[in-house]
């Protein structure tokens, strides 16, 4: 479904991603892990068109995504969430998922001004689909909440609304950037189950960036490890978890850091 070949990106002198190869087949859940600053978010930014790669190619369902605007990428069927939750805070919860259906709908000024039947039925459809997406998370985002601004939501609910908003764009590939960050263990276990249902019930293929290893273990078919912008290992969770390169990337650096600290401190 998604083939990424020999992809690199540099910010000034910094190689955020280097010669990365990556593919996802339809129906998979792939986790991307790696230490802080490894380039995981940059990787998502590149797929979604927010950052242009210096070299390499991104092919989604047989067509290259290079040179497309983020909105066009979304229209092709790739949606994402943001690590640092970026909701439309002063729009209502319902409006957040309604506006995300922008590229799936097409009523323009004329329809709105003359309240054509096409406009009204499209508006109803947008609303209904929005509510359907929100009810995936139980009653938390529905009912009286629909008309409340997104800014009143608790942190965990904001994360859920981010996912709902991405779902509302009717994607085929869903990119989740640290969806359980900041949630307590119970909430993250629940969201892990929901991520499974996103595949089984909604038919999404999912790429997920996650630091929480229990989530990674539970949801992923496959794990890719990034470090310094390079893919250093891939395979099943067990394979990756026992890979010496990975252990070094996570632990070795720590050991070195500690040594460095000991050396500098008197």
């Amino acid at each position: 479904m998604l083939q990424i070949s020999d992809l690199s990106v540099t910010f000034g002198g910094l190689h955020a991603l280097r010669n990365l190869d990556f593919q996802v087949t339809e129906g998979e859940i792939v986790s991307v892990i790696g230490p802080n600053g490894a380039g995981k978010t940059t990787f998502f930014n590149m797929i979604s068109g927010m950052v242009t790669p210096t070299s390499g190619d991104i092919v989604f369902e047989g067509e290259s995504l290079l040179g497309l605007d983020p909105s066009q990428v979304t229209e092709r069927g790739i949606a994402r969430t943001f690590q640092n939750v970026r909701l439309f805070a002063n729009m209502t919860i319902l409006e957040n998922v309604m506006v995300a259906q922008h590229c799936r709908t097409d009523q323009k000024v004329f329809g709105a001004l003359f309240q054509t039947n096409a406009f009204k039925s499209e508006e109803n459809a947008i609303r209904e689909y929005g509510e359907e997406v929100l009810s995936f998370f139980g009653t938390r985002l529905t009912g009286y909440r629909l008309e409340q601004p997104a800014s009143v939501l608790s942190y965990a609910n904001r994360r859920r609304l981010e996912i709902a908003r991405a779902m509302a764009t009717r994607p085929r590939l869903l990119l989740l950037d640290e969806p359980v960050a900041g949630m307590n263990p119970r909430e993250s276990a629940e969201l892990t189950a929901l991520i499974g249902r996103l595949r089984s019930e909604w038919g999404f293929t999912i790429v997920i960036i996650e630091h929480d290893m229990s989530v990674v273990r539970d949801v992923s078919d496959r794990v890719v490890v990034l470090d310094h912008g390079e893919s250093i290992a891939h395979g099943s969770y067990e394979q990756v978890a026992n890979d010496p390169n990975v252990i070094e990337a996570y632990l070795g650096r720590q050991v070195q850091d500690e040594q460095a600290e000991e050396e500098t401190s008197p």
Binding site: S48, G49, M50, D69, P70, S71, T74, E75, A79, R80, F82, R86, F88, A89, N90, M91, E95, M98, V99, A100, Q101, H102, C103, R104, T105, Q107, K108, V109, G111, A112, L113, Q115, F119, E122, E123, I126, F137, G138, T139, R140, Q148, P149, S151, V152, L153, S154, A156, N157, R165, A166, T169, E187, E190
Partner: protein, 595 residues
């Protein structure tokens, strides 16, 4: 929102905060002196508020100790909400601030008496000294000010101390008296239309201002009327709110129809001056509604909005006037309007295309430039064969509607025309706000990158905001042409862009009602760039007051006079969260399980 207890904590009234005292006293002294030197007391003395007690000139000084003293009282910030702490110390504090303000004037009087620096400061004049000493001796005047300042300060302090109900009653009374006095021209004119001059003759003094009895009557009404109807309004409101949706929308529709019918007959009860004034307000309502789409909804700070007003005005002039120097088809106004709308929309596209790729400050500066470029093009010799350069285009015929001609000679007809177009503009704004494109505009305002990532084509959507804004401005331009009959480049100064923006900001960004209220208050009372408002004496100080109002609004009430619920949430996030938490609307944990 890390609140620990839900009960109201007991508040210890702190002692006099000397720093705060000194700060407020200094602010009072400096503002009084500044206002005096800006010439407001002398310039506005002609205008009576209450004859013979109070003129606008004295009021421009007297509000200072009163308002500052009521603000100077101690306040604590509790979990994001400011709370008044009441104690008798606030009376002392208020009195001291009042005294401070008065001392500022006293110092000014001493300086004015002994030195003459009239050269740079034109208002450093004997008239000012006379006015400040109440036409008596300066010494007596000083004593008077000290007493007056302290008393007003004490009263201001009392405002801080009294229970909220008393406080709001007092404010209602004061503001009602002020409003009835300021709106004199309008009220007299309106009541004349209903043959009710007896009433206005009774409350108003012949040469302007309320009589003392009149003021007392207004004050009494301001107390009695809320007592009589106060509860009933809320009762009716809740009853309407609890109706089923279709019944409620029927009630709303009826209210809307009655309201529009009243508005449509209103011009027939008004005299020339008031119709003229309201027509001007309407022109700015149209402009502000257009800019509101661009700035308030889509979040694009366009500082050159006057360009579209100019294009609308000039296109109408060229198409309808027999004096148009180049091309002169002399079309009837309604036909011309179609061309005007299309052409201005195109200009919107043309200016918008390069501009919307920029963001924030850059965009603001570039639009400012475009606004000026358009005006300079109309002024230029190069295009004077088409637009008449500095001579402009004259003899614009107005709108022929068969039985009458709508033009500036008959302000009533212009006001009616403006009303019709305002209704159209309101409808457009309202429908678009609640549509796919309106939501996209808001998303762009909230976070452009995310909007783009969620599939909104930001380029097209922003362009559309520009075009719709341009079209609404072109309505205003077309009516303006028909109204004034001749247009010149000087009718389209950059100042107009700024004033429209102030109207939008002061009224409340992204809010249709707010924008209308903003235009009524600013253009109607203070006046537009060239049009006088109800307070004609203010014209000299108009821009000063616009500026002061803008600064104050940005500091204290960034959501505008009539806040858009959303915007005000954004701007008072903390307080809002606090409220929501107290009301239990916010979830602080996630105990509930998904069903």
């Amino acid at each position: 929102m890390t609140a620990t207890s839900n009960g109201t904590p007991t508040l210890e009234a702190p002692g006099l905060d000397w720093r705060r005292q000194i700060r407020f006293s200094l602010i009072g002294a400096l503002s009084s002196a500044f206002i005096a030197l800006a010439g407001m007391p002398v310039g506005l003395d002609r205008r009576n508020i209450i004859q013979p007690l109070l003129s606008m000139g004295y009021l421009s000084l007297l509000w200072v100790p009163f308002v500052l003293a009521s603000l100077a009282g101690s306040q604590v910030v509790l979990e994001g909400m400011t709370e008044r702490v009441r104690s008798s110390k606030d009376l002392v504090a208020g009195a001291l601030v009042g005294l401070g303000s008065a001392l500022g004037l006293v110092a000014l009087m001493i300086l004015v008496k002994n030195f003459n620096i009239r050269d740079p400061l034109v208002n450093w004049s004997p008239q000012l000294l006379d006015l400040l000493s109440f036409n008596r001796s300066a010494g007596l005047g000083m004593v008077f000010w000290i007493v007056l300042g302290t008393t007003l300060g004490l009263m201001g302090g009392a405002m801080h101390v009294v229970p909220t109900a008393v406080r709001s009653k007092t404010l209602t009374v004061l503001l009602s008296v002020l409003a009835v006095s300021v709106l004199e021209t309008f009220i007299t004119d309106l009541l004349k239309g209903f043959q009710l001059e007896i009433f206005t003759d009774f409350i108003y003094y012949k040469r302007g201002g309320l009589e003392i009895v009149g003021a007392l009557l207004v004050a009494a009404l301001a107390i009695v009327i809320p007592l009589l109807v106060g509860d009933r309004i809320t009762v009716v409101r809740t009853r309407v709110r609890e109706m089923p949706a279709d019944e409620r929308s029927r009630v709303n529709l009826i209210l809307l129809l009655v309201g529009s019918a009243l508005l449509l007959v209103l011009p027939f009860f008004l005299g020339k001056i008031t119709n003229e004034l309201l027509a001007n307000v309407g022109l700015f309502v149209l402009l502000a509604l257009g800019l509101n789409i661009v700035v308030g909804l889509a979040g694009i700070l366009d500082l050159g909005y006057v360009a579209f007003f100019a294009v609308g005005g000039y296109t109408t002039a060229v198409l309808t006037s027999p004096n148009s120097p180049g091309f002169s088809p002399q079309l009837p106004w309604p036909v011309a309007l179609i061309v005007v709308v299309v052409l201005t929309g195109l200009v919107g596209l043309f200016i918008g295309a390069p501009v919307i790729r920029m963001r924030g400050d850059y965009l603001a500066i570039v639009t400012l430039g475009f606004g000026e470029i358009i005006r300079l093009l109309f002024l230029s010799d190069w295009l004077s064969g088409w637009f008449g350069g500095a001579q402009g285009i004259t003899n614009i015929p107005g709108v022929d509607v068969g039985f009458a001609t709508v033009n500036g000679i008959d302000p009533r007809s212009i006001f009616l025309l403006v009303l019709v177009f305002s209704a159209i503009a309101i409808y457009i704004s309202w429908r678009l706000e609640h549509s796919r494109i309106g939501r996209a505009w808001m998303a762009i305002r909230e976070d452009e990158d995310v909007a783009e990532a969620m599939g909104v084509n930001t380029t097209n959507t922003k362009l559309m905001a520009f075009v719709v804004g341009a079209v609404l401005a072109s309505f205003s331009g077309a009516i303006f042409s028909a109204k004034v009959g001749s247009i010149f480049p000087t009718s389209f100064l950059m100042l107009i862009s700024i004033i429209i923006l102030v109207v939008v900001i002061v009224g409340g960004m992204g809010n249709i009602v707010g924008v209308i209220v903003g235009a009524l208050v600013l253009i109607g009372i203070l006046g537009g760039p060239k049009q006088p408002g109800l307070l004609q004496e203010f014209s000299e100080f108009k821009l000063l007051i616009y500026g002061a109002l803008l600064v104050w609004m940005m500091l204290k009430r960034p959501e505008g006079l009539v806040p858009n619920v959303r915007r005000s949430r954004e701007l008072h996030q903390e307080e809002f969260l606090q409220d929501a938490w107290l009301k239990g609307e916010i979830d602080t944990d996630d105990e509930e399980n998904p069903s």
